[in-house]
Symmetry: C2
Subunit: 325 residues, 2 copies
Amino acid sequence: MQNKTIKDIAKTLGVSTSTVSRALSDNKEISLKTKQKILAYTKAINYIPNPMALSLRGKINKSIAIVVPTLHNSFFSDVIAGIDSIAHKKGYHIIIFQTQETYNREVEEVLQALGRRVDGIAISLSGQTDNFDHVIKLIDDKFPIVFFDRVPTFEGAPRITVDNFRLAYECTQQMIDRGFKKFAHVATPLNLNNIRERHEGFVQCIKDNHLQFDKRLLKICNYDPLQAHNAVKCLIENFKIDAIFTSSDKITIDTCRALNDLMPNDHIITQFGFTNLSTADLISPPIISIKQPAFELGAITAEVLLHNIETTEYENWKTEDIKIN
Amino acid sequence: MQNKTIKDIAKTLGVSTSTVSRALSDNKEISLKTKQKILAYTKAINYIPNPMALSLRGKINKSIAIVVPTLHNSFFSDVIAGIDSIAHKKGYHIIIFQTQETYNREVEEVLQALGRRVDGIAISLSGQTDNFDHVIKLIDDKFPIVFFDRVPTFEGAPRITVDNFRLAYECTQQMIDRGFKKFAHVATPLNLNNIRERHEGFVQCIKDNHLQFDKRLLKICNYDPLQAHNAVKCLIENFKIDAIFTSSDKITIDTCRALNDLMPNDHIITQFGFTNLSTADLISPPIISIKQPAFELGAITAEVLLHNIETTEYENWKTEDIKIN
DNA sequence: TTGAAAGCGCTAACAC
DNA sequence: GTGTTAGCGCTTTCAA
């Protein structure tokens, strides 16, 4: 069953390989008759050109790399689904690389992606990354790369994000409108742009409403549920808070569990925050949840990336940032 | 920055391409000195051989295809994470193909995977698939393929599944032990092996406890939430049921929403079922939830597939089915 | 121990 | 309108 080659086809049909190649590439320098004969045959045998050979010839590979911190996160799964939806339409396949949130893996995986000669890279940075040489090099070399969600601070390649500031601001405003006054924020470290922007939107909204945000009410946790538990415990015991803002998926869940553990019956504290779970509406105690348009983010990332891949003139590449609403 | 080729290296070092190739492949027909010189240099420049060239030469590609119905499902995301964890260790990359639950896409995507010359395929069948020629052909050709979760009825290639019957049986037994007596089952169509096995485990347990299962209490729904709503409504209005069994992720959620809508305050019906959501414990009304070991399923799938890929003697391939507990 | 050359599947000059 | 050939990066005979 080994996929037939252009050579086999040529032999079977009694023509040369270049004739077959021409028929396949819709070249005009070929008679309609031979072309139809060849196309009929290739269709019949389900011929698929060997992408390795194409790639070796310098043609594009029709594959893009997606580099994400982890797949254990419905946000990234949704983004990938969005990227795939666009990529598939244009005949591209996606190859997934996980960095497990470490800088070393990120460098390695980017190298691997290049080694595989993907046509472009869509990347969301690891939580550890603070050196950007590996991606700057790509930008300098005009290799198609697009950042999404967790993006670097410098310009040069498109950065596709959701409008974290605005989403956080608006949700906080809703809470204030409903009468909440004393807010805490349980967050993962602010070195990631998205988390930082969410914090800023949250604080700005509080300020704009002439309320105060006590800095001790910002609790930074890592990915350990126990830290969230302790943070919530500290908040409950020491401060009279109305509401807790949580600014990413996992921490939202951890905080929710902490609240359930620490005050199982009276839900006097209301939680609001970012989560991409499909079941956010079913969770108890209820969370006012902010859902990022992850699928759409992926779709736009793919569109920009594919545009650049398929545009040979560098000056026509898209480089501007996009904030999705 | 275009990755250097073996030719560039040869030129820089003043040796021939074959010498470089030999150094890289740890060939013994080469002096230690030249070898070390070459290796030092290739390491310094971060040389990665072009996998396209390797693949063209008939070497393996170090990539495997994962064909899944959809990525919009935390079960499959987790399986993929599990596959990747093993594949990455052995230097393989994963390329993901979605069938969107349709037979036509499944055939097409399998063809695409072969076109890409992946070394093997891990596949979970679409909900529509009832013709298996496309995969039987691969098995006949001794192409490495492993089925997981949604597997065909015939033997010949490894089928990795969770023990659906047992999981369903045990959970039902728990419910009976807690005093529940009158059960309904809200399910997606039973043509998929996993759903059918779950139903069988559920019914068998009821029978073994000398209870009766009224067949009218099996409600088949598709992926539309409205169908689940109507099914639940019908069950509530016409039958005095204690508990509802739901046998897959999405239908579990849909049923949960339906219960919330139809009887928001008195939770006289208890739901138990399969779900892979990380937040199953937070959902209200509480669900007795059965979690499949998705990550582990993926890991084992990858192990079997990679074993077969790397084993040249066909008689040493693993072909037996595996049920994970 | 090393180099030269062929060939994997394909495309694109260049011939005819 | 069609065939011949070189070459993409690599490995592997075969010579030296």
